[in-house]
Amino acid sequence: MRITSFNFFVFLFLSLVVFYIFPKKYRWFALLGISIFFFVFSSSWKLLLYMIFGIVVSYLGSNIIEKKCKNDKSKKIVLFLTLFLIVGELAILKYINIFPATINLFGSLFNLDIYFNTINLLAPLGISYYTLSLIGYVTDVYRTTSKAQTNILKHALFTCYYPLLISGPVVRYNYMQREFFEEKKLDFNNLFIGFTRLIYGLLKKLVIADQLSQVVNAVFSNYNYYTGWYLVVAVILYAIQIYADFSGCMDIVIGASKMYGVNLPENFNSPFFSKNLSEFWRRWHISLGTWGKDYIMYPLLKANIFQKIGKKCKKLFGKKIGKLIPTIISILLLWLFIGLWHGASYKYIFAAGILPWIYLTVGQIVEKPIEKLTEKLHIKTECFSFRLFQSLRTFFFMCVIWLFACSPSLRESIYIIKNIFVNASLLLRNELPVIPILPILFSVTIVFIVDYLNYKNIDVSLKFKEQNLIFKFIVLFAFIITILIYGAYGPGYNPTDFIYGGF
């Protein structure tokens, strides 16, 4: 069931009726039933078994760690075994193809006559997201930051809560526990704010992302034809598309969840206003970044081996560089993980792993010298023009990443880069799909304003809540009309999956 479809709205309405009919104390139980129904309706009973495996393993693991293990060594063994089983399931279902892909890559590099077919195993909805949440939960129980959940049904809700299955966010157990199990009262404000947020997400997805995707796809599937500026514009449009797609999806799920009275954490915080790339990644897919920091990077940096590397490097290269090297290695491992998480292909390992790592490493090395240089040249850094330059610079570097990410493969992205420097006739634009430019511009402007206010720490949702009811209805009505008239849906359009839903 697509969350942009009419079916979803029927489902949402009926599920809300069921949810609020249930006694307050047992509404979490209704959410579990609703989530299982959504899962089965969207995929199948068979795939539910994979999810049940993850639920049971993490439930048993966390409870054994907390209640049965007497010392740290036995706790560690159970932790590793539990993580091995949870990660193993994800690896088999989603990453088995990295082996044939590696062999095929070497085959094509050395002109060998070998080719292995890839295997298409069906993975349950949301496995990439809920696996990370489960890893975090079991680790937190080991670290004694979380209490193990003794009720397996409550634990199951944490894993299969349906708004989290489409594209995350990756959630923390302590936070979600409060949200799920506090008594939920029927609150008109929650329903209205949630619904408006959902509609705002649909505007981003159907009017911006899915409309732009037609042009982006047309250009990238004919990159030998649409060369030069067409490719440059297509990458910029792809940047807007991917943001509208992913953040729009987050608005829909956060909005839908709010209607049940469950607040989900934000996953975006106006990324396009970032001064530099490290700030960008603190504002883009926030839940994945903080998860990686807490469960991969910090433990690595604190590990004995990294401390030893640091000491050796300090002796060899001096204090400053010596300190930097373990950090750079841990950032590399973190980003390789993030690249691999995006998909079992070298395209993602490079675009979403190695390239960001290179950016951040170079950024760390040149940060101080550039600061000194700007000071020497008396360049004002606190004015609008310099801030604009910083945001555009960040946007440019991200566009390079997205160019690789949206190309069919690493090899083809090289051709695309070459073709950027080949001129193409302006007349070709007449052959591109026709999209409603003004409504798209209107929607992009709204997103820009909302994001700018958010960047300035103005709580847009709160401000909206404070307005007169008539104004709120006008805004909602304007969004709905724009979506109904200009949204990319219905006959003549291929419904597009959420980009991050595929990761």
Binding site: T144, T145, Y298, P299, L301, K302, Q307, G310, K320, K323
Partner: protein, 80 residues
């Protein structure tokens, strides 16, 4: 070690980690007060403190301690 001795020893650790002899910490010092104290430097700092006092922080403490005062409380607790 008394609280005062711990703060003096922490001054040395902070000065060493952040390369700044002017740093003096008190119980309300936070990452906002020291320019280079970001999330990466935080880990280096924690490890340096562990080595200085011969103790271990767990990951929960590493990620949740809010100021130097909380760090000192943990050090005192471990030393007992």
């Amino acid at each position: 070690m008394t609280k005062e001795e711990i703060y003096n020893a922490l001054d040395e650790v902070f000065q060493e980690v952040f390369d700044d002899d002017e740093i003096h910490v008190n119980e309300s010092t936070t990452a906002d007060d020291i320019e280079d104290w970001d999330s990466l430097e935080h880990i280096n700092l924690v490890v340096a403190v562990e080595n200085k006092f011969g103790i271990k922080f767990n990951m929960n403490e590493v990620t949740t301690m809010k100021n130097v005062g909380e760090m000192v409380d943990i050090i005192l607790e471990r030393q007992q």
